[in-house]
């Protein structure tokens, strides 16, 4: 009888351990479909910022800079890898060769410095400062200290210094799901949600992206009228 009780207890214990295991983030991941936006209701301030936005001039991508965390997650055909350590999670994005270090713990572990740098060590404050925790089968990352940027560069949806975001990652079958929620009362009447799905690809390495000449200066100079020297 004792052994039966033990069996039942152990089974429940094992099942519960299985259910609450951290999501398996190993391997290399890639966006499997376009990111899906939830309802977007912007404030007048956000609408004004959007109206001022000129894609051909203001997109930080022109300078090989990430415009926001959302912009980085949403880029297709680039690899993403996770590296779990005791006190931190490192997310490597092939896109712009970004390395994002997320300290694990409560709010007290957040750093003032941006969590994201590129492989040359250049920090990117539009990616904010993050901290995270594993909660059962979910990874939850909270981010603050954003510099003004654009959550969606194609349409100029802005973020501000007041913006915070929560990213929840979990495994659903073979996919890795991510729901990112942006909060900013100055910009959004209600929280702005973006959903992503990633597939694991049969690769083991994250090659260098080596963003080169993202702006068009070199090209526009070719067609610029010759400047005559005035004497």
């Amino acid at each position: 009888m004792k052994s039966i009780k033990c069996f039942a207890f152990c089974a429940i214990f094992l099942v519960s351990r299985t259910v609450v295991a951290e999501p398996d983030l190993s391997g290399i991941w890639m966006l499997s479909s376009f990111a899906k936006e939830g309802e977007l209701v912007m404030t007048d301030k956000a609408l004004a910022l959007q109206a001022d936005y000129d894609l051909l001039v203001d997109d930080p991508s022109l300078y090989c800079e990430p415009a926001s965390i959302a912009r980085v997650w949403a880029n297709p055909n680039v690899r993403i890898a996770f590296d779990r350590a005791d006190a931190e999670l490192r997310i490597s994005y092939e896109f712009y060769d970004l390395r994002r270090t997320v300290p694990l713990g409560d709010e007290s572990v957040i750093l003032d410095a941006p969590s994201t740098v590129n492989v040359d060590g250049t920090p990117f404050d539009k990616m904010g400062s993050s901290f995270g925790r594993f909660d059962g089968d979910r990874l939850i990352i909270e981010t603050r200290n954003h510099a003004p940027g654009y959550i969606r560069t194609s349409r100029g949806i802005p973020q501000s210094v007041n913006t915070t975001s929560t990213e929840i990652l979990w495994r659903q079958g073979d996919e890795l799901r991510l729901q990112q929620t942006y909060f900013d009362e100055t910009l959004f009447v209600k929280a702005f949600v973006v959903d992503y799905a990633f597939r694991r690809i049969n690769e083991t390495e994250l090659p260098l992206y080596e963003c080169t000449d993202a702006d068009y200066d070199w090209f526009e100079k070719l067609n610029a009228p010759a400047v005559r020297e005035e004497r």
């Binding site: 997109d59 297709p76 055909n77 349409r155 080596e210 068009y216 070719l222 067609n223």
Partner: protein, 401 residues
Amino acid sequence: MRNLLYGVYLLLVAPIAGAHHSTVTNFTREVISVDGVIEQVRYQNPHASVLIRHTDGSGKDVYWLVETAARTTLERKGITLDVLAIGSKVTASGLKGRRAKTMYLRQIEFEDGRVFTPDAESVTIRVENIRRALEQMADDFANLQIMEGFDYEMDLDEAYRWQDEMVEIMAPDFGEVVGYKTGGHNAGPTFPTFPLDGIRAYLLAGFMREDGFTIRPDETNVGFLEADFAFRVGDASINTAETDLEILAGLDAIIPFAEVPDPYYVPDTRSVNGTIVSNMGSRFSITGEPLLIEATAEWLERINNFEFAVLDENDTIIQAGQMNGWYEPVTVVRWIRDQIRQSGKELVPGQVLSLGNIGILRPLQEGNPRGPMYTSNQFRLEYYGLQDDGPATVTINVDRR
């Protein structure tokens, strides 16, 4: 007609994924085209692009930037921009950019009518078609069937990559690589189906025959007996050798070498690329006793100046010649060494390097455009002046029964 085609494009253009920046917002739905010369090809992130110089009606040069997906995306689809050679005259078509003089690439048409599209399917189809063509050529060659010519447009680098694949296809029938052969280095006109600066191919284990090999004419289709000359690689230092004597130090033997190539195609379908991808139609390679050499000035002198002759079974000289004035053997070794290294490989000790014909060819059958049929029963190649105790030799016997 062109406007009509563009109208069709407008209806058919599908959303384009994979661009670094939003195609929808950076480019309009209007399809435009521009003609000009390819000035630059940038296979990079975040935008791969082609720079085209267009000369307008007033004679002024205007530059157009034809953008496509990021290098990362193209790589994943197996798409390169290698075919877009600098200096090519082209007409590019694509979605007009919101930025002046830019477009999003739909297709680039060359002057000769070839069309490049950055489309995985079209690339795949081409690759699969070429692979099937090679498999058919290899099968025809192994079974003594006439080969269809190979009419794909490509540069020499790509043709040699397909030659590599051809050798893999041929491996079950002809075995592993045991060396290389080259041709087209002699002074004077070369074969019209050889690249101007020479051609190379592989020697496979299944081609190799020993001295005294007897061939029946029906073992080839349009085979011919060819007097050649070969070295054996002795040391890997040859891969980085610079001077003639250093090259010689990387070789350990001269090999008397005769060959029976069998390059036969549907009439008028033979091409430079076809000759390359078909591995030059190599069929049999016959080797005599290796003659050990030393890296000395004296040996260099012997190698550059030896004489040779082909004799028949009655010791009648069919044709004679001398190396001096034909090609410089060490120079040809250096050429093939550089070619092999450029293709990412190295020469390995033991490999045979056949330097090509030394001016004597004799067809095995009648009706061969290379000349009258060889009617003797022996093709004995003798090299004079390479060793003191008589000529080095290699012999092919012809069985006409």
